[in-house]
């Protein structure tokens, strides 16, 4: 039985889960796994440039990564970022019904997100061309486009292992991890 999102129990269990993953996994972490998210969160929190360009930003941003079982992504992933006036309050993987209701939700296939990470796809161009889908107030994104671009740059700078680079064993392991998270945290 999964914990209920929004309760102290869920938060505590999630923190423990992430701590265990950090202790057991070695770097480079796989993109969009909970342990990778901690590195990304730290990078955003410590980035002076982000603080400057995002000082007017208000609202949560969710990166929605669509499932691709061949890479071990057996279900959709929602990376929730609570951002406010240049600060990052928290980042975590959240259940789908929570992620879908973020203020700004950017959806793409994992292959598109890998292209973004490798700087082969500009996020704004990707959204204009329909390669990434945005749900949320577009004028707010445009007004804060520098903050959005900095967020993307930081995700790339953090580094990590892309899901299309995994060995068959790693693909299987990632699939199990996602299933395990779903069982504990109700991600699907």
């Amino acid at each position: 039985m999964a914990h209920t999102y929004g309760t102290d129990e869920w938060d505590k269990a999630y923190q423990e889960y992430v701590a265990n993953r950090l202790a057991s996994e070695s770097q480079p972490y796989i993109y969009f796994t909970p342990e990778w998210v901690t590195l990304y969160e730290k990078a955003v929190r410590e980035d002076a440039k982000y603080k400057e360009v995002a000082k007017a930003w208000e609202g949560s941003v969710v990166l929605h990564i669509q499932a691709k079982p061949e890479y071990g992504l057996v279900q959709d992933t929602y990376l929730f970022m609570d951002l406010w006036h240049g600060d990052c309050k928290y980042m975590k993987i959240v259940p789908s019904e929570v992620g879908k209701n973020g203020d700004f939700v950017i959806t793409g296939t994992i292959d598109r997100w890998i292209m973004v990470g490798k700087k082969q796809l500009d996020t704004v161009k990707g959204m204009m061309q329909g390669k990434l889908k945005l749900k949320g107030d577009l004028p707010t994104i445009v007004r804060n486009v520098q903050a959005a671009m900095r967020l993307v740059d930081l995700s790339s700078d953090v580094g990590g292992k892309y899901p299309d680079e995994l060995s068959p064993d790693e693909v299987e392991s990632l699939g199990k991890t996602m299933t395990e998270m779903d069982e504990q945290f109700g991600m699907a």
Partner: protein, 624 residues
């Protein structure tokens, strides 16, 4: 009269000198070869008029032309073109706009109107289905565009209000970049077609029609319409335009080095965030407005409630206007820009050339080439929107130095002298629109080789090079790096062949940016009933581009005119283009070879004949 299979197949011809009015047939072969709009107008001009005609003389025709899709319910097909020899550039002049005039003209049963001669006194033309009449406009002469449009709508209201084309005082005064307005909200600004209309003493055209535009293949039409409507609604480009208008490009453009600053010499402009689409939406937008049958609705309706820049509720400034009266002159006061836009609309002035010419004058003033003694005491200092507004009024009324600046920056510089020529930012006499070739080298090539001068609309390079649309199925690369020149000649050529037909079938480039080339071909096929493939569209694009380029060559342009102005080639290290400058020699050399232009920039006999342009070839190579 209904238009069967997309065309009325007839042209309304009006001679304003002898008041003769007649209709003439448009042959199928000509329609399918040149489609409509600019292509058809150019062929008509070539066949019947002299390229050497004085642009402001009665001998220069003014041709209003629609396309086969105009008047259908397909998205983005409300546009029309107005063409003549340009008084601003001396070359082939063409302006296009959306609105509702084009569809109404089709409903009245005409594909276009050819206006010849000139009236001895002010007149306006009334087209009410089969009834066509020239009426006295003495009481309208001297009135601004909003007033004359309101008066004529009321005067000819009948069962249904008519659609209006009108000029303002700038057109009457033959300001060389005077615009023509459709129902106050849509403007044909580029290349000075309003001055040609003014030279004919034609104040307005009133049109009302009761017919329909009927597609030949009803089922196919409904299917393709459903498909492209969905694409337009779901496209982020369309959503961006709907939520913020074209001025959204200000905020995004600052990230890519696209926004020109300080008459193209500046690298940074902190005020950009205050004059773009989000700011306009948040503080001044009252509603959005759409052209006929368009689901995108990019037009802004704005109002400044009070203060020195108070305006009536009316059309808001486009991105280009936010630049020319904003970043070009380092003005970060959006209310001032909205006021400038309103004044340009009322007088009937192209906001690009007007703002760009004022920016040019400001740089002249900074360098001491112009002084307050020349400007009737107006201190033309950077950032001073009040000075710009005063200058705008002088231009519209040709008062003082406004009489010189009313000629556009190229001609004004020749009169001013003392190095002013070096500060002009124009190609072939047409001021650059607000997309910086240092950030996007392909756009620089487009500007240089464009048949009407520096142009951002008669092709699709803007969308492709900036990555708003990819059109990979048409043969474009997945991604282009703006600050690279390699490979851009090929991109530009293809984008022209793909985009030029849009100004002939009269399709909006914003709608086009949401579709595939195949969709456009399918739309033409379903409406006309003719087999029409994506390759046919590209072939038509090549043919029409060569035709209009050849027209401009006949009017005197050579390869020496295919050059960017000095200010646009200054490396700007601090800008987002990081000191990048387009390699024009490389791109032009590659482009000429691909396009089939000779060393003088003229299409070769071989390439013209291959494109089926024998009449043009005969004129270009007469006596050779």
């Amino acid at each position: 009269m209904d238009c069967q299979a997309g065309y009325a197949k007839r042209l309304l011809e009006v001679n304003l000198s002898d008041k003769n009015i007649r209709t003439s047939p448009l042959e199928d072969k000509m329609l399918m070869k040149f489609l409509g709009g600019g292509g058809l107008a150019a062929q008509l001009f070539l066949e019947r008029f002299s390229p050497g005609t004085d642009p402001l003389s009665p001998e220069n025709p003014l041709i209003v032309m629609t396309g086969p899709l105009v008047g259908t319910r397909l998205p983005g097909t409300s546009r029309f073109a107005i063409c003549a020899r340009s008084p601003l550039t001396g070359f082939w002049g063409i302006g296009t706009c959306g609105g509702n005039f084009g569809p109404e003209l089709k409903f009245a049963g005409y594909d276009g109107i050819l206006l010849e001669g000139a009236s001895e006194k002010p007149v306006y033309l009334v087209v009410d289905d089969e009834s066509v009449d020239i009426q006295d406009a003495s009481d309208l002469w001297g009135k601004d565009i909003y007033d004359v449009t309101d008066i004529l709508k009321e005067r000819h209201s009948g069962t249904r209000k008519p659609k209006i084309l009108a000029i303002g005082q700038a057109g009457e005064n033959q300001v060389l970049y005077a615009s023509i307005a459709n129902d106050k909200a849509h403007y044909i600004g580029r290349t000075g077609m309003g001055a040609v209309m003014g030279s004919k003493q034609l104040k307005a055209i009133v049109v009302r029609g009761t017919g329909k535009v009927l597609p030949a293949l009803e089922e196919k039409y409904e299917a393709v319409r459903s498909s492209v409507m969905e694409k337009c609604k779901s496209s982020m480009v369309a959503q961006s335009l709907q939520s913020m208008g074209t001025a959204a490009a200000m905020d995004l453009g600052m990230m890519t080095g696209d926004v020109p600053i300080r008459n193209w010499t500046g690298a940074e402009f902190e005020g950009s965030g205050q004059i773009g689409g989000p700011a306009m939406t948040a503080d001044y937008l009252t509603k959005v407005h759409a052209c006929y049958a368009c689901p995108i609705a990019c037009k802004r309706v704005v109002k400044v409630d009070s203060g020195p820049y108070q305006t009536a509720e009316g059309p808001g400034p486009e991105y280009e206007t936010c630049c020319t009266f904003g970043s070009y002159i380092e003005n970060d006061n959006l209310e001032g820009i909205i006021k400038a836009n309103e004044l340009c609309n009322l007088y009937g002035l192209d906001t690009i050339t007007c703002g760009a010419t004022i920016a040019f004058a400001m740089e002249c003033y900074e360098k001491g080439i112009l002084t307050a003694a020349d400007t009737d005491g107006i201190e033309l200092k950077w950032g001073d929107i009040d000075a710009a507004l005063k200058m705008l009024e002088k231009i519209a009324t040709r008062q003082g130095i406004g009489d010189i600046l009313a000629e556009g920056s190229t001609r004004a510089a020749k009169k001013i002298g003392n190095g002013a020529e070096d500060l002009v930012v124009a190609v072939k006499g047409l001021e650059l629109p607000a997309h910086d070739p240092r950030g996007f080298h392909g756009m620089g090539l487009e500007y240089a080789v464009g048949y009407r001068g520096a142009c951002h609309l008669q092709h699709m390079s803007l969308y492709i090079e900036q990555g708003m649309s990819s059109f990979e199925e048409a043969g474009f690369k997945d991604d282009y790096i703006g600050t690279e020149s390699q490979g851009k000649a090929e991109m530009v050529l293809l984008s022209q062949n793909m985009g030029v037909p849009a100004s002939s079938i009269c399709l909006c480039v914003f709608a086009y940016a949401c579709m595939d080339v195949q969709d456009v071909a399918d739309m033409i096929h379903s409406v006309t009933g003719r087999e029409f493939s994506a390759q046919d569209l590209l072939d038509a694009g090549e043919r029409i581009w060569l035709l209009m380029r050849g027209m401009t060559n006949l009017m005197g342009a050579t390869g020496a005119d295919d050059r960017l102005p000095p200010n646009s080639l200054i490396p700007l290290e601090a800008s987002m283009s990081a000191g990048s400058v387009p390699d024009m020699d490389l791109m032009i050399k590659e482009y000429y070879a691909l396009r089939g232009l000779d060393a003088n920039g003229v299409p070769t006999m071989e390439v013209l004949k291959k494109a089926g342009l024998t009449a043009l070839a005969d004129k270009l190579y007469a006596g050779k």
